[in-house]
Symmetry: C2
Subunit: 315 residues, 2 copies
């Protein structure tokens, strides 16, 4: 038997086939066309589900379950997306509609995309084997997913787990959510790029040398790469970024004391050296010191497929 | 049948008898004598349990269960207090020892004191009827207790739920835990007193009038009382305090989206006017705006007895 995971994004719909070992064996995608009516988008999801089965030479009746990772507020009890910022969904019964479109009685489950990714890492990735884990995605924003007692936790209204939107600096940098000083505004790849540009500007204004000024284009990797090559200004950017990221992670530990925190998203591409930079600060700042068993901080394993795999494995 | 709740503090041991309606029917206490060996403290807890039964004319066999609310890290699975800052407990099997001292086969359960208070409010107080709730205690420090899916959540190592130690201002005011900028350093009664004293000093230095300077002694109520009497400087202190408190509460909502947050501790004595001051800021800052069902913010109902009642009702 197989399961299908759907990662529904503002740009693309990615659909994957997951086998009994929780491995992604095939992935196909098509553009979302997010400006179309919601019903059209569901029709395309159904088509992709049929296509992936056809391409693998299996039938829909070989599919044990389908899961959809959706942006926004996804009610996993009713299968209704309450709202999504970048899709035309408002109290949209996506699970039922997909079932209707497929004409088969396959269970369809839904979850918020960041939560689905956390579930994927918990079932088949970096947090496999733990009952309580948190996933933090360091990308354009800072996403969060909370797994408690072997289940996705999203609060009584399914809108919880917005870990990027904890304020770490009252009156601080503006955040896309409207608040000021959110963790996302300091620890996303976007924030790292902003800090890098600020440092470049500062160096330019003061005539200070930095090898970063030779970069063709500033990305989330610029400060990391140049820091490793010995550039002092780049190290200042990196240290500042690490300080904020570590502070937020210590806060997450003080709240949840999870067995595992897995770090995903573009910035996590830095790998173990990122964790090595974070750990001394986190261990110093976390409550309870080293009296208790310590939360393990790991790089996420499933990369961009975490959402698809997590969605497929929804129960 | 009755249950017994023990609130074990650094200064006093309070023991209460709780009836089948979760009402506290009798409470007695004695000094903790925290510098004595841990075993002596347990002997006194046993004595108090026997005394309260004797005073109420019931026998120990009428007791369905005993719960102990302890400071520090309390392992509710093993009954061992891993560590407590202000008591001589280190990997101390308090539950088993109390059983041995009582010589009866009554189940003894333990929980961290802030968690027990949250459990009390969830079972019999402000959050009664909800499955997911958070209690925040605004006292000398800021305490937190997390109830998820009808159970106390304290992480895989029982040290979680330290909601006072989420950093809301990186490099901010020093906190008793060793970090800087914790919520506790801005939203405890202690912080409110500090802010009041700072304003008094500022007014003194600039020759500005404030009726607060006539207060015999600055307490957590000084700024609130004088603000209500129309003093402008007092209003500035109150508004600043409310701003930080609301920011932390919005963060708690963004993480947990609990059905209920109950506010306890000295500052919560301000009652509904405190909530009326907080709500406009929280509703503006919380993620998801008003698309989803809203977390109810309430004043805790059980006062200082929340820990005893919660401990008695531990399952």
């Amino acid at each position: 038997m197989y399961r299908i995971g759907v990662d529904l994004g503002g740009t693309n719909i990615a659909v994957g086939l997951v086998n009994e070992n929780a491995e992604l064996v095939k992935k196909i995608s098509s553009p979302t066309g997010a400006s179309r009516p919601a019903e059209e988008i569901v029709k395309d999801i159904a088509k992709l589900c049929k296509s992936i089965c056809a391409e693998m030479g299996i039938s829909l009746s070989d599919i044990e379950g389908i899961g959809i990772a959706s942006p926004g507020i996804a009610n996993h009890d009713t299968g209704v997306v309450e709202y999504a910022n970048n899709l035309p969904f408002k109290k949209f019964p996506i699970a039922q509609l997909l079932k209707d479109n497929l004409g088969e009685s396959i269970p369809v489950r839904i979850e918020n995309d960041a939560n689905a990714a956390a579930w994927g890492e918990a079932c088949a990735g970096a947090a496999k084997g733990s009952k309580n884990s948190i996933m933090i995605t360091l990308g354009t924003g800072v996403g969060g997913g909370i797994i408690i007692d072997g289940k996705v936790y999203s609060g009584f209204n399914y809108a919880g787990g917005e870990l990027g939107h904890i304020v770490i600096e009252v009156d601080g940098a503006p955040c896309s959510c409207g608040r000021r000083g959110c963790w996302e505004a300091y620890s996303s790849a976007t924030a790292l790029i902003r800090m890098t540009n600020e440092k470049l500007e500062e160096c330019r204004a003061s005539g200070r040398y930095t090898s970063m000024s030779q970069a063709a284009r500033v990305s989330g990797r610029t400060a990391c790469d140049h820091m490793r090559a010995g550039d002092e200004a780049a190290k200042e950017v990196y240290d500042k970024y690490i300080k904020y990221l570590a502070s937020g992670l210590a806060t997450i530990i003080n709240i949840f004391q999870p067995e595992v925190i897995s770090l995903g998203g573009g910035v996590s591409g830095e790998g173990q050296s990122l964790i090595d930079s974070l750990l001394p600060i986190i261990r110093k700042e976390q409550y309870g010191g080293t009296i208790v068993a310590l939360t393990d901080i790991r790089i996420a394993k499933l990369g961009n497929d975490a959402g698809i795999i997590g969605a497929a494995l929804l129960k």
